[in-house]
């Protein structure tokens, strides 16, 4: 086993923080943090969808925007959408949508805005956790919450919720990043991404590790939803 640069155990996540109701103007809002990675999310809607041709008379639609604030990373991020942020916005939308039932809101949109205040790896997963709570806070009909965390692989060993220093691990097989999201309390995965090197036979262990992490995240999310700050 390689020792994690963070000193954490293989299946130990960073300390989590969650808060619901942080943006009074929004219909729902939340903050979620994995250690030094902080994401905030706001939900507006259901509201009239423009442009009109995008309206769906059979259901409301979900629209997600994810981005980093310019000063959330070491080299200033140029404001405005990038290909990376467009891709993360889309996979986040797909990660969240399976738990929503928007048929009661035809022709409307639910806008989810996710921004990263401080990035120390795991921004998309923190953003999904925040957005999931914000949707619940907004009272959108949901089957359950979505929980999300990444598994890292440092050389040949798995490490749950890697931070930025761990993402730069470059010994042996280096670092592999595997962000996942699932519907709480099920075996259904709604986000799956991977970058790096991992033998197929290790994927089962990755999923088991995420299952454990998501159980902890779910508790943090539920607790925050019971203690809405506004």
């Amino acid at each position: 086993m390689v020792a994690r640069p963070s000193g954490r155990k293989a299946n130990e996540m960073r300390s989590m923080k969650a808060k619901v109701g942080i943006i009074p103007n929004a219909d729902g809002s939340a903050m979620f943090a994995f250690g030094d990675t902080i994401a905030i999310a706001a939900v507006y809607g259901p509201r009239q969808l423009h442009p009109q041709h995008m309206q769906d008379p059979s259901t409301g639609i979900l629209r997600v925007n994810y981005d980093l604030l310019s000063f959330s990373v070491s080299e200033r991020k140029k404001p405005g959408p990038s290909r990376r942020s467009k891709e993360i916005s889309q996979v986040t939308e797909w990660a969240l949508s399976p738990v929503l039932d928007l048929r009661a809101f035809p022709n409307t949109v639910i806008d989810v805005q996710i921004y990263i205040l401080q990035a120390d790896a795991g921004t998309r997963t923190a953003g999904i956790n925040a957005a999931s709570m914000a949707l619940a806070h907004a009272g959108i009909p949901m089957k359950n919450l979505i929980c999300s965390v990444a598994v890292g692989k440092l050389d040949k060993d798995l490490a749950l919720d890697a931070d930025n220093a761990e993402e730069h691990y470059d010994e042996g097989e280096g670092h592999t990043d595997i962000p996942l999201a699932k519907i709480a309390g099920t075996d259904e995965f709604t986000l799956m991404q991977l970058d790096g090197k991992i033998p197929p036979e290790m994927i089962k262990d990755v999923l088991e590790m995420v299952n454990k992490g998501c159980e902890e995240i779910y508790e943090v999310q539920k607790k925050a939803l019971k203690e809405i700050v506004e």
């Binding site: 996979v91 797909w94 995965f189 090197k197 999923l207």
Partner: protein
């Protein structure tokens, strides 16, 4: 055929056929389409290839430029992958700013190539920290009949294998007309490929034709290669809203090496 969404009727028909293990073209659900590779699409490119996979046709070309390294990797050359979903190739593709598919395709291929370590980027340095080669891989579909990403992965690897450096003139500029016989610094044994698994109802299928692809409710693209004789998954991205169950994911990763070997059996003939 217009570029409208698939009809419920087609989707229902496909679901019931898939439930019975049948497809329009007689293949099994996990059978791949046959493919062929051709080199030399453009003699102005540093390398190029065309892949025909069923009725899907796609071309990839490599151009080389001299550029500056990224600040965080002064000892590495650059790789850029781009794609343009030409309206020439499908009634579904439209002129205008790139839609999500056009953004996602090159990103999936970029990660497959980059993470496999197929290109030794360190060997693309001309002057460390100052001047490096940039390898640009451009992808153009010519006819989209489904499974574009997987066809693109073959075309891009073939184009890279086919590519040679242009000559550098004494003033440091490139003479594109004088090709060297020097191939790109590729790791001989590392051949990455992508496999996209599609899901409709409880059925998983591979290598769809257009109607099948349009009917799918979810999909996941995985990049795979071999490192020191071991299979390695290098990239993965799930698309669309329907979740994958844990057992489905485990089934997919188990099938991957087998499907990889199957494609390599054909692809190796073109790589000699």
């Amino acid at each position: 055929m217009s570029s409208m969404d698939i009809t419920n009727l087609t989707k229902e028909k496909l679901t019931s056929m898939f439930n019975a293990g049948k497809r329009f073209d007689g293949r099994g659900l996990l059978d791949l389409k046959d493919f062929e590779v051709e080199y030399g699409v453009s003699n102005m490119a540093e390398g190029s290839a065309r892949v025909r996979m069923g009725k899907t046709e796609i071309i990839a070309g490599v151009k080389m430029e001299v550029g500056t390294p990224y600040p965080d990797s002064p000892n590495k050359g650059n790789l850029t992958v781009s794609a343009d979903l030409l309206p020439l190739a499908s009634p579904r593709f439209e002129q205008g700013p790139p839609k999500f598919n056009a953004i996602e395709l090159p990103r999936l291929i970029d990660r497959m190539i980059r993470e496999s370590g197929m290109i030794d980027l360190k060997k693309l340095v001309i002057v460390e920290g100052e001047k490096v080669w940039t390898v640009i891989v451009d992808i153009y579909p010519i006819n989209d009949d489904g499974a574009l990403v997987d066809a693109a992965s073959i075309a891009c690897v073939a184009a890279l294998k086919n590519a040679v450096f242009p000559k550098l003139k004494e003033d440091g500029k490139i003479d594109y007309h004088a090709k060297s016989d020097e191939r790109l610094p590729l790791v001989e044994t590392t051949i990455p490929l992508t496999f996209t698994f599609y899901k409709l109802g409880d059925n998983l299928f591979l290598s769809p034709v257009r109607e099948e692809e349009e009917a799918c409710e979810s999909k996941v693209t995985l990049g795979i290669s071999k490192l020191d004789g071991r299979y390695m998954i290098n990239s993965c991205q799930k698309g669309l809203s329907v979740p994958f169950r844990q057992e489905e994911i485990e089934k997919i990763v188990k099938l991957l090496p087998e499907k990889y070997d199957e494609v390599m059996k054909t692809f190796n003939k073109y790589l000699k």
